[in-house]
Amino acid sequence: MAKLSIKVHDLEFQNPVTVASGTFGFGEEMTKFIDLNKLGGIFVKGLTIHNREGNDYPRMAETASGMLNSVGLQNKGIDYFIKHIYPNIKDYNTHIIANVNGSTIEDYIAVTEKLNELDKVPAIELNISCPNVKQGGMLFGISCPSAIAVTDAVRKVYDKTLIVKLSPNVTDIAEMAKAVEGAGADSVSLINTLLGMAINAEKRKPVLSTITGGLSGPAIKPVALRMVWQVYKAVKIPVIGMGGIMNATDAIEFFLAGSSAIQVGTANFIDPAISLKIITGINEYLDRHNFDCVEDLIGALEV
């Protein structure tokens, strides 16, 4: 069996298959389906400084090979997380990575400072790419200066591995990646959702309460692969890839394009055990192609 462990900056993952923020809750609901200890890591649902009720229903629209969501970062706030959720999940034998959100730089700093104190959260993912909130969110992630400002501010208060999650809704993703690398990110993860919209023709109304929402699923895989490839070539820090990964072949494609680890998102909604099946499939691929370790696939696209 090939070696599956990989490193993202200083942090070693037992395997490169993690689950994407917002698509796995805090893991608790999933214990009924799979053994979480087998995962490379869990990026938990986005956290904010205060409780957020999220957007109004409807928050979901199905699209061709994908879906739109406009959940809007519903969560009970960082203090609730620390008090009521963290204790239940901290002893899993997998990395718990917190997804950090804010409307202002101060928000981001405040949440990060609290997370910095948690022993069993070895990394944070700075979400500057949420398309579903009115303030902050994606606005930070679509201009270099603001991305730099928030990354820099968080870096100053965070000692562990800092992953910055990039928005695909930009002209030049490589520029954005270089900007946050320069500002101190240890890794970048991409892509968050593409901004999209669905309309109910019969009712002549938007399907989502928020009119627009974030597009995820296989529909966006070609865009995600392209961006991972562009970013991989532009930066020196490790890239964590995601966007439409539904099976092991998709995962392999992301490694080849330059991902050190991958995140499984929307696929969790269709098969709660998909992440473990992907681990098995990666193993089979490595054996079949005589690779000793998954690391040898990273960026190994022959062009």
């Binding site: 609901e29 979901m60 699923g217």
Partner: protein, 259 residues
């Protein structure tokens, strides 16, 4: 609660009218305990435009024969395709999901109000109410007599009242205009409802005004069905709750329904 994710074999599809059918499936493993109100997420085999699973209430279950069935109305591509499945074909299911209708201690007389496919959870509920010796009345509403289905099943568990909009069966009108609600004595201590949103709201309003508890099972657009996406929320007095996880059954006075 134990959950299964398994391919099930189609036993048969019984068509009830132009667009409603009962889908009977066989599980390859023992069926875990199912409670009235629980639902399953069914993966529609390869269908253009159907990406996510589809949620359906569990109609009935036979633990000995490992049989589970659903009552489905074809309204779009997914429900259309499920109706075309042939015996022997495989379809993947996740269940049991969601919470259940509650049966309070000491309950004596219950009213069940259903419309459309909303009647699906009521075979299991009727069965359990009967087992507990609770007297049950089913009030079923539809547009015409053709929409009044499965009454033979319900009659095993209680008495049946019907309303149709065109008066072709039972009392004419909506369920909420049924004479049951207009009598001075309202003999029921608990009301269970499931059906179109508008119907459930009207029933909930009417019943709680009488000081009677009403539980409704909510319809909702779901992405996952097991609590991890937060797409399916409904506003409650305690903030947004997941219909698939904290629900689908809610005490109506806990809900803050919008339109």
């Amino acid at each position: 609660m134990q959950k299964i994710v398994e391919n099930h074999e189609v036993i048969e599809t019984v068509h009830l009218n132009e667009n409603s059918y009962v889908l009977r499936l066989k599980s390859p493993v023992e069926i875990p305990e199912i409670h009235p109100g629980n639902f399953a997420e069914i993966q529609v085999p390869d269908t253009m435009g159907v990406f996510l699973r589809r949620p359906f209430s569990i109609l009935d279950v036979n633990y000995k024969n490992r049989e589970i069935s659903f009552y489905i109305k074809a309204i779009g591509s997914g429900t259309q395709k499920l109706g075309e499945l042939q015996p022997g074909m495989q379809v993947n299911l996740i269940y049991p999901l969601g919470n259940r209708y509650t049966i309070p201690q000491g309950l004596k007389r219950a009213l069940i109000v259903g419309g459309g496919t909303g009647i699906a959870p009521f075979i299991l509920l009727g069965k359990e109410l009967k087992e507990k010796g609770i007297e049950t009345t089913f009030l079923i509403g539809g547009r015409t007599s053709k929409d009044i289905l499965l009454t033979d099943k319900f009659s095993e568990y209680g008495t049946i009242e019907v309303t149709t909009e065109d008066g072709s069966m039972g009392e004419k009108g909506f369920v909420t205009s049924h004479s049951l609600f207009n009598r001075n004595d309202f003999p029921f201590e608990y009301v269970y409802t499931c059906g179109p949103d508008a119907m459930m709201k009207a029933v909930g309003h009417l019943v709680t005004q009488k000081g009677v508890v009403c539980e409704a099972s909510l319809e909702n657009m779901m992405a996952c069905g097991y609590g991890i996406c937060l797409c399916c929320v409904t506003p409650t007095v305690e903030g947004n709750k997941r219909v698939c996880y904290e629900g689908p059954v809610f005490n109506v006075s806990y809900l803050k329904w919008q339109n």
